[in-house]
Amino acid sequence: MQLDFLLLVIFNVVAYASLAAALASWLKERPRGGSPRDVAAAFGMLEQALRRAFPDLPEGFTWREGIAEARKRGVRLNWTALDGALRSYEAYRYGREPAPTTSPQPDLLKLLKLLGGPR
């Protein structure tokens, strides 16, 4: 009787632990809804999205090369607006400009979504 109870406990522990591990894994991998909180986060997500969407892109790609790849594939966007967003991000990232405080440019979010969305 005591052995049966012990086996039941062990079985429950293993079953619930597996369930918890699967849930944790799903939470980690699940597609996250919503927008990135700022421009820097949006570009961080774009980098991953570009890598996923264009596996042939070399390791040493730059923002402009990655975005040009999307443009070549016929993605329809306001590229001038996107270029402006990239330029102001570059001024912050590589120059001495302060971090952009506005929310990410709509075409940047659109591109992110078209490339499979943030994960």
């Binding site: 730059t62 990232r93 590589y94």
Partner: protein, 311 residues
């Protein structure tokens, strides 16, 4: 201001040199980076004309020396001549004492003469028999050379090549460009019609602005990693020198300035890498002799594809 400045120079050069806008821009980059440029191409592709037109539109003092196999170093840097009247030796300055020196067909001169340029190009000064004189500022050597396969040419030594900030390959024009060249030639376009389009003050201001262009720490790290990657590549026996990377950084700043920016991006560095590095790298001899079709440009492309830029 800067993009307009660039456009003025390119348009003026374009009055007589047809379809060579990218090459004219690279010359401007080299000048603003405080460097020297090497133009390589077969005879008759407007190398000399481009150099002359470029010098004229900047309103800088210009001299041209045709390099020949019988030249001596004093034909370039100058030397001591005995003054009969004063009964003493006096230094007579050679053609290097100018703002822009066109060293035409530099690889037709023997190595001794080519070496005479080393000190002048690196230190902007000339020393003859213990007497040192500073060169005027700005000072730029624009050398032209025929491909090494041509007869009667001496290969430039590695030390000399390393002093050239950029190498600009001038290939044959396309069909449309060729027709445009013929039309321009028939209309009598002449280098004498080129006028200075940049004032001395504007040029001095441009030099100062280039110095103010920011290069982030991460970007310097990226440039250093590129250098290491060329040295680690098994296909290369001579990788990029530290001087090459200094030149690459300076050129990237000049490109950023001409693009109207006060910061350098990885695209600036990548777009210049072939021009700044290709003439300095040497393919491994065993690989070159094995018949495997690898060239320096392909090696550089692989390096740029591999090294991750700051993003």
């Amino acid at each position: 201001m800067a993009p307009e400045f660039k456009q003025r120079v390119i348009s003026e050069v374009g009055k007589v040199v047809v379809s060579r806008e990218p090459e004219a821009e690279l010359l401007l980059v080299s000048l603003l980076a405080g460097g020297h440029a090497l133009l390589e191409g077969v005879p008759g592709v407007s190398k000399t004309l481009l150099a002359r037109a470029f010098s004229r539109c900047l309103g800088l003092e210009f001299r041209r020396v045709q390099f020949t196999p019988d030249m001596l170093p004093l034909d370039i840097v100058g030397g001591f001549i005995f003054n009969m009247k004063e009964r003493e030796f006096e230094f007579r300055r050679g053609p290097i004492f100018t703002n822009i020196l066109l060293a035409d067909e530099i690889n037709r001169a023997p190595p001794k003469v080519q070496s005479a340029l080393l000190e002048a190009m690196q230190e902007r000064q000339v020393t003859v028999e213990g007497h040192t004189e500073k060169l005027p500022s700005p000072n730029m050597v624009i050398a032209t050379q025929n491909p090494i396969e041509f007869q009667g040419v001496y290969p430039l030594p590695e030390g000399q090549l390393d002093r050239f900030t950029l190498k600009i390959n001038m290939g044959y024009p396309s069909l449309l460009q060729e027709a445009a060249i013929l039309r321009s030639n028939m209309s009598g376009a002449d280098v004498e019609t080129i006028h200075p389009v940049v004032s001395k003050e504007e040029l001095a201001e441009a030099f100062e602005s280039v110095k103010a262009v920011a290069v982030s720490g991460e970007m310097l790290d990226y440039i250093a990693r590129l250098a290491m990657a060329t040295r680690a590549d098994g296909r290369v026996s001579l990788g990029a020198s530290p001087r090459a990377m200094v030149h690459l950084t300076q050129c990237a700043r000049a490109v950023a300035y001409l693009g109207g920016r006060n910061y350098v991006t990885p695209d600036d560095v990548k777009s210049l890498s072939v021009h700044v590095l290709s003439h300095r790298l040497k393919l491994d001899q065993a690989l070159a002799l094995s018949g495997e079709r690898v060239d320096i440009d392909a090696v550089l492309k692989d390096t740029l594809d591999k090294v991750v830029p700051p993003r």
